[in-house]
Structures are given as C-alpha cells and as structure tokens.
C-alpha cells in the first residue's frame, strides 16, 4: 500500500507530504507517527507541507490530530513550509489550526523544536 515515509532525524521525526492526501493515507500516517514516537522516543515531529497546493478541512484535521496525539506521547509538532496562498486561504476557510505550531522552513522548525525542548518557550511561535 502507498504510504507516506516517516524519517528519523535524531530525536525528531520528519514527514514530507508530497501527495494528494486521501482518507486511508491520512489514517495510516497518524498510526505510523504515533508508533514511531513510542518506538523511538521522539520529542518532536516536523511535517513539511511545502509541496501541498491546498490545505482543506480534511488535511487540517489530520494535522491537528497528529499534533494532538503526538503531544499526548510527549512530542511537539511543527508544520513547516506552508505556501503563502495556502495560509491566506486557510484563514478565510476559518481553520485556525489551534495547537499546531508553524514555521517557514524545516530549519526554522528544528530550531523551534530544539529551542523548545530546552526552554519550553513559545516565543518564537509563528502563526500562519
């Protein structure tokens, strides 16, 4: 079955979403992420959505679900690389992605997560 790869980067997980998501893929990804966090003790999850051309309520819910489940398992999620047009549309759609932190790039996301694991600060939070 088609699957979105979940890569391990030190204490973080890196997920790059490049395909048009559908239900099964989304559910599989949620399962995979939670399994990897508990297997590897990951403390952060980076989800790169820079190649997504839209984020609708379905994808938004998936991102929020992953963030919520990861948090329960002790890992923070940062969604990185959202395209500006996607961010503008998301706001108009009414989706605030509450509980999901965002950063402009994978590097910025890593900084946020590593910074966060030391200080627990939310100051660098950037809302799309």
């Amino acid at each position: 079955m088609e699957r979105i790869p979940v890569l391990r980067m030190g204490s973080l997980l890196l997920i790059t979403i490049q395909v048009d998501m559908h239900d099964k893929l989304a559910l599989q990804l949620q399962d995979d992420v939670t399994e990897r966090i508990s297997d590897w003790g990951s403390t952060g999850v980076l989800i790169d959505i820079s190649s997504l051309e839209i984020v609708d309520s379905f994808i938004g819910r998936m991102l929020a679900n992953i963030a919520g489940m990861s948090r329960v398992l002790g890992a923070e999620t940062v969604v990185v690389g959202m395209q500006p047009a996607v961010a503008i549309t998301l706001v108009e759609l009414g989706m605030s992605l509450t509980g999901v932190r965002t950063a402009l790039s994978v590097e910025a996301g890593m900084e946020l997560l590593y910074g966060n694991s030391i200080t627990g600060s939310e100051d660098e939070r950037t809302e799309a």
Binding site: D20, H22, D23, E53, I54, V55, D56, S57, F58, G60, R61, Q83, A85, V86, I88, T89, E92, L93, G94, M95
Partner: protein, 134 residues
C-alpha cells in the same frame, strides 16, 4: 451571461475528489486567476466535493467558465441525491457538523467564493452552486 465551457465530473469516491480539485485548478489557471484565487477555488471545490461524497452519498461536479459582459468567472455546481440538509442556517455555522468533521467546509467555502447558493430538499438531495469572478 454565456457559458464558454462546461465539464461534468463524477464525485463517487475519494479519488474523484482529487480529480475534481485538479479540474478546477486547470480551469482557474486557464482563466488566469491569481494564485491566491486559484487556491481559494480549489479549496472550496475540495470541501464541497467531499461533502457531496461524505454527506450526500456521492454525486457530481459541473464546472463552467462563464462570461458576464466584461467579467469572466468559474462556476462550480455540486449535486447529490443524498439525504438533503435539514437546516441550512445551522449547516453553514462554523463548527456545526453531523459527522466527525470540524464543521468548516460549508461556511468556509461560502467565504472563499463570491456567489454561493444552496438548494436542498430532505430525502431528495442537495445542489450547491459556487462562483468566483475574476
């Protein structure tokens, strides 16, 4: 008002939702909508197609390139023969869902287009029309 182009696509499964999005993107590009406007159109199409599938038991999407005087636009019509919407006002409220969604699709897609109308009859089905003008 004249119709320059019309295409009808089925919305019967989750892959059809992907194809519906791609069709709307293609026409929006042809019409030279800005990237933000393209994104709004495709996102609205995704929400309404998914609703037709999840709540309306599947249906169809008709997309039209329309021209009204000097203005051109993209019109999307989503039709299904599902259960209909009992209370349109409630259904449009952000956060209202009868499923396990976030209840954002309907009200959100209304905000993403210029003209939006719902025709529905309980037990018969639903037709939603959304237009964005250039």
């Amino acid at each position: 008002m004249s119709v320059q182009k019309r295409e009808v696509l089925p919305v019967k499964n989750s892959n059809d939702v992907v194809l519906a999005r791609q069709k709307v993107r293609q026409l929006a590009v042809e019409l030279r909508f800005s990237l933000v406007d393209q994104t709004k159109l495709v996102t609205a199409a995704s929400e309404l197609a998914r609703n037709a599938l999840d709540h309306g038991k599947g249906g169809s999407m008709t997309v039209e390139v329309i021209v009204n005087g000097a203005r051109s636009g993209l019109k999307m019509v989503f039709e299904d023969q599902g259960p209909g919407i009992a209370n349109i006002e409630d259904a449009l409220k952000d956060g209202f869902t009868t499923g396990n969604g976030m209840g954002l699709g309907l009200g959100g897609s209304k905000r993403l287009v210029n003209d939006f109308s719902i025709e529905t009859e309980v037990g018969k089905g639903t037709r939603i029309t959304a237009v964005r003008w250039k």
